[in-house]
Symmetry: C2
Subunit: 525 residues, 2 copies
């Protein structure tokens, strides 16, 4: 039997509030993000420049996200495969535009052996490779070289393949999850007999991404097409989903590319079509990465730490027994495990935190920081009353509400049986409310803007956000806007993605030229 | 409506038997393996020396195997995380023995940028890294550097982490799945407060591997300890599971290492124990890789292609409609889809092969080659009789049985409802029979050997297999045996792993010195 006295003793390692060690967003948003990633135990830097370590809690979220995406890829007819990590230098140079877009900051393998020189391990100069190998920054060139062996006739098409892999792009300024030298991602690479089919695929996968963003991550997104200057190197069309973070900046959360016959031509992949003629294959590629974890954090989390949608929460419910005497400890702990067992039969992932050398408060803060959607506190009085104390990780804020009022609204005492039976429903509610909350925030920071003056005021005085503006400028003028306001055209949204108030034709905010529809401008990560 | 005539037309691309393009095992076992990997669409070489492409069918098997292992890792309290691909050169050199064991054939990154020189893309000499980075051959050194930040007190222990990742070991002679420069694997790295706990973990994970090998892969294995010469570089104890392939060679299928305090000392990872004293942490690591796919192939498959245990089969049942007229096509296809739908409700993965430009025979061969456990043929007569024709991928062979008798035993006509209801049970039966078949084969090629003469005869005349022999030689004598017979001590088996007939003390087969128990000797992959 453990000593209950310990339970009321304070350790200097135990934080006094969930926000301990987390800079408030209002003080420094960038620092808040870094603090949160650290304090919620999601990831950390490694001794290898630009490479991150994804810690178990962060990786558990990624695993859930992976599963949700993978299920959807398979439901849309895709299969997984694995292609090599290394790309011969000459391959990268094959597709010209692609090469100039990607062949810059890469990790290059030049040797294949180490040896001991004067008792020190060093690179063996005699092991120099004939042709350097580039650690894949993306795999189009390698995969299309392989597709050449796999595709002969229209019967082999469509070829719908996805790969889960690590990629490396040598980045100078890194930021955990958002931009790192090595990151984890999935890259889809499909081959089609017709342009129409390939273009359909591009949109289908963008829709899958949007579905995951909104219905799994609870992050509302705008679907649209990139401008020429923002296209993937080698693509004829790049589509993306764009989310808005709490600081008003946009984040590109996934891209889907129509590659036309660019890669099939450079890799010489032809197929015999139904008319018996040889034709180059039509290609798409599409990708999302661990960057999505960054989007998740920056959309939902608060000064107390991570907020997770139930669909991605590794733990749905944490149960904390509260006690003073050994008898109370025994009783509340027993009840905590009983409640957890019942909740698990409903398909929920439940953790009982019965560590006896830690104050209940410290436990609350820890699980709040880690984003557990619901906490159940069980004390002797709850046992007597046959009720459970449920505490939600978040509620949708009302204007002018105090911290105390907020806290009160998060907490509920519910009869035991009712609380347990209602838990799966509560998870669905939280999932929906999180999306709604993100939508409200996004709407609050979205603006339909018609003049450059208003545009300037929005981004330089009012904090910025998503600007819906008419645009008919050139690429040079696009760059000009970027320099002046640090904004970019996030996408040319598909018509149904434009808010009612922003629809219709107009004139370009910069040039005054006619424009058929508004585009989405914002600062971006 | 498609033209049923096509169904009876032969294409020159359609093989005339399942074994088409596969060299028989009896003719050339090595070539059989390569042919099978190719013809079953599992994997192929890439233009990058030593790196393989795992094709969708091979990757689907790997995904199922991963899931089975991952579930077991989690059930034994482990969590996943992700550590960087690159290891700074200086890290690899930290643990001396480890360095000399691994720091040989590695891919070394020396530059981080490419540039166009005279219109040709090349490595930018100005982008040379201050410290070369090694592409991880295994991650102990990097992970332990990170654990230093994670472990302060006994409360942080045990730390039970696994990683799914790609690793690179520059191999000169490669063989798909069995030995490639890059391969996929999982590596567990755990930290413990006591030696006893760490040693328990080593055995626990070896047991998990043995469970997966026998109860998922249907490959019987021997558990044991490696001799000093065969230990993992930096380990105090290496345990392994050893399977036997159809050519009588052993294959190491998984290893689990007790690392003592070697890595915690080189990375300086101490913890405050319960007595308030600082102590170095005790470590284990354990791994399995895509090599297991090679073991799967070489244990079960035959001259007609891949044979898969139902638990790892991406498709459990393939349904092939057989018809001559358009009416028959319509009727059998409808029935095929109906049967498939019913089987799917029982949790089975079912494929209907209703391609109308291919002969039924060609379909049978294709799915046989790919290892689908059961085929259902549905022709007009089956419809009339209300029965289904079930064809099992394999049966346990009887001595002296002809090919035709074998074929007859694989085929059964069963009333429709009964056939469907019995299918999950049939899958369990096949799973069990596959393990039994492998056990029978292994027993047939296992020999208790007491003299060097018999040993020589076994390996040089009788085809070899697993030899149970007493051994008390030195490391030098061990090497001598290896040179003379191309055999090695696969493991010093745990007592309960030794067959009855091989138990007890004896004298060394080479030196005549006393030996407490027999060891397992074999040629090996």
């Amino acid at each position: 039997m453990s000593d209950p006295q310990k339970n009321s003793g304070k350790s200097k390692n135990q934080p006094q509030s969930a926000s301990d060690g987390i800079t408030p967003r209002a003080v420094d948003y960038g620092q808040w993000y870094l603090d949160l990633v650290k304090r919620a135990d999601l990831a950390e830097h490694s001794p290898v420049r630009g490479c991150m370590v994804i810690k178990p809690h962060g990786y558990a979220v990624w695993e859930k996200l992976q599963r949700e995406m993978d299920d959807r890829f398979k439901a849309t007819g895709h299969v997984n495969a694995y292609f090599p990590l290394f790309i011969p230098l000459s391959f990268l140079a094959k597709e010209e535009e692609h090469a100039s877009g990607f062949a810059k900051e890469c990790a290059v393998v030049t040797h294949h052996r180490l040896k001991a020189v004067d008792g020190k391990v060093d690179v063996d100069p005699e092991s120099k490779l004939e042709e350097p190998l580039v650690v894949r920054p993306t795999s189009e060139t390698l995969i299309w070289a392989q597709y050449k062996n796999w595709i002969q006739s229209y019967r082999d098409l469509p070829l719908l393949i996805n790969q889960w892999a690590n990629v490396v792009r040598w980045e100078m300024r890194t930021r955990l999850f958002l931009r790192t030298a090595e990151f984890l991602w999935q890259e889809g690479h499909t081959a089609h007999a017709t342009e129409a089919e390939a273009r359909e695929e591009v949109t289908r996968m963008l829709d899958v991404y949007a579905d995951v963003a909104e219905n799994v991550m609870a992050v509302p997104v705008v679907r649209g097409r990139k401008t020429e200057g923002e296209r993937f190197a080698g693509a004829l069309d790049t589509q993306s989903i764009e989310g808005m973070m709490q600081d008003g900046k946009a984040l590109q959360m996934g891209t889907s590319h129509y590659l036309g016959q660019n890669f099939s031509k450079s890799a010489d992949v032809k197929f015999l079509n139904k008319d018996g003629q040889l034709e180059y294959v039509y290609a798409t590629s599409w990708g999302t990465s661990t960057r999505l974890i960054g989007a998740l954090i920056m959309t939902h989390s608060d000064d107390n730490g991570l907020v997770l949608p139930p669909k991605l929460a590794p733990i749905h419910v944490v149960v904390v027994p509260i006690y003073k005497t050994p008898e109370e400890q025994e009783a509340t702990r027993t009840e905590a495990h009983a409640v957890a067992a019942e909740l698990r039969t409903l398909g929920l992932s439940v953790k009982v935190d019965d560590r006896d050398d830690m104050q209940p408060g410290a436990k609350y803060y820890e699980w709040e920081r880690k984003g557990v959607p619901v906490r159940i506190e069980i004390g002797p009085r709850d046992l007597e009353k046959g009720s459970l104390c449920l505490v939600r990780r978040f509620v949708i804020e009302k204007d002018g509400e105090t911290e105390q009022e907020l806290r009160r609204r998060k907490k509920q005492f519910v009869p035991r049986a009712e609380a347990i039976a209602a838990m799966p429903g509560l998870m669905e509610t939280l999932q929906k409310e999180l999306l709604e909350r993100a939508r409200l925030l996004r709407d609050k920071r979205s603006r339909v803007i018609d003049t450059l003056e208003d545009f300037e005021a929005f981004f330089k005085k009012e904090g910025g956000g998503l600007a819906w503006v008419h645009w008919a400028g050139t690429r040079v003028e696009e760059d000009e806007m970027a320099k002046r306001f640090e904004t970019s055209i996030r996408c040319i949204p598909f018509p149904d993605q434009i808010p009612e108030a922003a629809r219709g034709e107009g004139t370009c905010i910069l040039t005054g030229k006619p424009s058929p529809q508004r585009v989405l401008m914002a600062k971006a990560y």
